[in-house]
Amino acid sequence: MRVTDRRFALLLMAPAALFLAAFVLWPLVRFVSNAFYDISPIAGGPRTPVGLQNFIDAFASASFQGASARTVVYTVVVVVLEFALGLAVALIFAALGRRSTVFRTIFMYPLMIAPVVAGLLWRFLLIDNFGIVNELLVRAGVLQSADQVGWLSDPAIALFAVALPDVWLTTSFITLVLFAGLQTIPGEILEAARIDGARFPTMLFRVILPLLRPVMAVALIVRGIDAARAFDIILIQTNGGPQESTTTLSLLIYRTMTRYGDIGLASAMGTIYLIGMLLVASVAVAAIWRPGEAR
């Protein structure tokens, strides 16, 4: 009976496993192996093995270094803003109890919107001359004229401006995860802290956040990974410009592959990126998730 049960289980898992092997693993193996070749962009063109040359070229290229730095900045900006805002809203929801139900529903809506739509929408909001954001800032007296701040055209601030729609789009995710986590904190623990005379900041940092650690880990890791590979939301706003100031790694890899046709170099960049992600994510999982601790 045991053996047949095991076989039955394997049989049930086989289709999904084969699918992932054929359409994720195999393409990925091909992608990584491409990094060791010089590949002609013409279909059926020659493939010349070049060893580690593509990796050397990638590390030496100024655009790769720049894009790597921008990817880190973009990810940190998005995750920090989202986390601060998301946690604040989750705490307000929790403090309001059942009265927050309607608000929670409304707050969820950006999660359903396509990143392309969000990117275009924010580009529309932030455009220098007829964008509503600058217009409202002028009416509020913050700006003197509508073209004073070029959110997406000033290389100094464009990278931060393109991050706004991502924050807008997915803060709800952090709020939902943290709110659900807050529900699982036993009331007695907070009550005990309250009786001990703990004020809210103490409770937050000493009691609530430590208890939320596993949930925070899920929220931060998932969002960190997603922000680091943001593509369409940036592409649609600035196409990587002005002056490369918003070209993150995913855009650079895409451009190297499609526009410059250098498949080998693009694959090397992608491989470095993937290894970097795996390293950072493993460290993050080990540092904040601490699996094995009681959940």
Partner: protein, 279 residues
């Protein structure tokens, strides 16, 4: 009632006001998109811009829907998302069931796959997939794109379904088997009805992932199977900067899924939190 809920009425009032301000800011972008979609095209790009339309019109909607390729793209989006949902469920349900019921060590591979596929830049899988689809002779079809979208949602679907199967007590199945049901029969007739809510959540997630996806669609389709996000993105080059029509199409594309998910809100929270916490 939870431990954090405040009891002081004054605190509650302040928090409600604060929340209202945040929600207005949070809701404004989409509200402005909707308002703009009802302005005449010239007013949509007027300097200085207005918040509320001076003249209300459906001009942008008729313009957007009559543009070449828009209606086929909407059809393609539905087709691709439905296909991807079906493929994903057919593959994920048995796999997730096996992982939870038989606890095979190989089941962990799926959890790992779920994490790793999320880290892989889409382009790394997308570019070689183009060649695979060409070799299979299904390049530029909704089916090929649905397969690509399933690579994103399948690991997540297995993860989600596993967390729903986890909640089903073993006894239900044992009873069915006592009555002479086969293992497949017990899964199909007894367990699946119990997790139908979970199936719905997983289906919605797969659908949304496909509906909103951009890069695979950009790489794998050219004319026949093009989905709406690509068409929306092309609005800026192909038709000049027609912001009015763009806002209309964006509204047409977003509102159905927003309404659908808001009505099913309660069921979806479990999915949105990736089953990380049982909400």
């Amino acid at each position: 009632m939870n431990g954090i809920e405040t009891r002081r009425r004054s605190t509650k009032a302040i928090l409600l006001v604060l929340l209202a301000v945040i929600l207005v800011l949070y809701g404004f972008p989409f509200a402005y998109l909707l308002l703009t979609s009802f302005k005449p095209p010239s007013e949509a790009i007027a300097v200085p811009p207005s918040v509320v339309p001076d003249v209300w019109t459906l001009e942008n909607y008729t313009a957007a829907l009559s543009k070449e390729g828009v209606v086929p793209a909407l059809v393609n989006s539905v087709m691709t998302a439905v296909l991807s949902t079906l493929i994903s469920l057919v593959l994920a349900v048995p796999a997730a069931y096996a992982v939870t019921r038989y606890r095979t060590p190989s089941g962990r591979v799926f959890v790992l796959a779920a994490l790793v596929t999320r880290m892989v830049p889409t382009i790394a899988v997308g570019a070689p997939l183009v060649e695979t689809m060409r070799a299979l002779g299904i390049n530029d079809t909704s089916f090929a794109l649905a397969i690509a979208h399933t690579t994103i949602s399948l690991p997540l679907s297995i993860w989600l379904m596993a967390s729903f199967f986890e909640a089903v007590p073993d006894e239900i199945e044992e009873a069915a088997k006592m009555d002479g049901a086969s293992r497949i029969g017990a899964l199909w007739r007894v367990v699946l009805p119990v997790v139908s809510g979970g199936l719905a959540v997983t289906a919605i997630f797969t659908f949304l992932a496909s509906w909103n996806e951009f890069l695979f669609a950009l790489l794998l389709t050219s004319v026949r199977a093009q989905t709406t996000p690509i068409v929306i993105a092309n609005f800026q080059t192909q038709f000049g900067l027609d912001w009015g029509a763009m806002t209309a199409l964006a509204a047409v594309y977003s509102i159905p899924v927003i309404l659908l998910t808001l009505t099913l809100q309660r069921h979806i929270v479990a999915g949105l939190t990736l089953g990380a916490v049982k909400g």
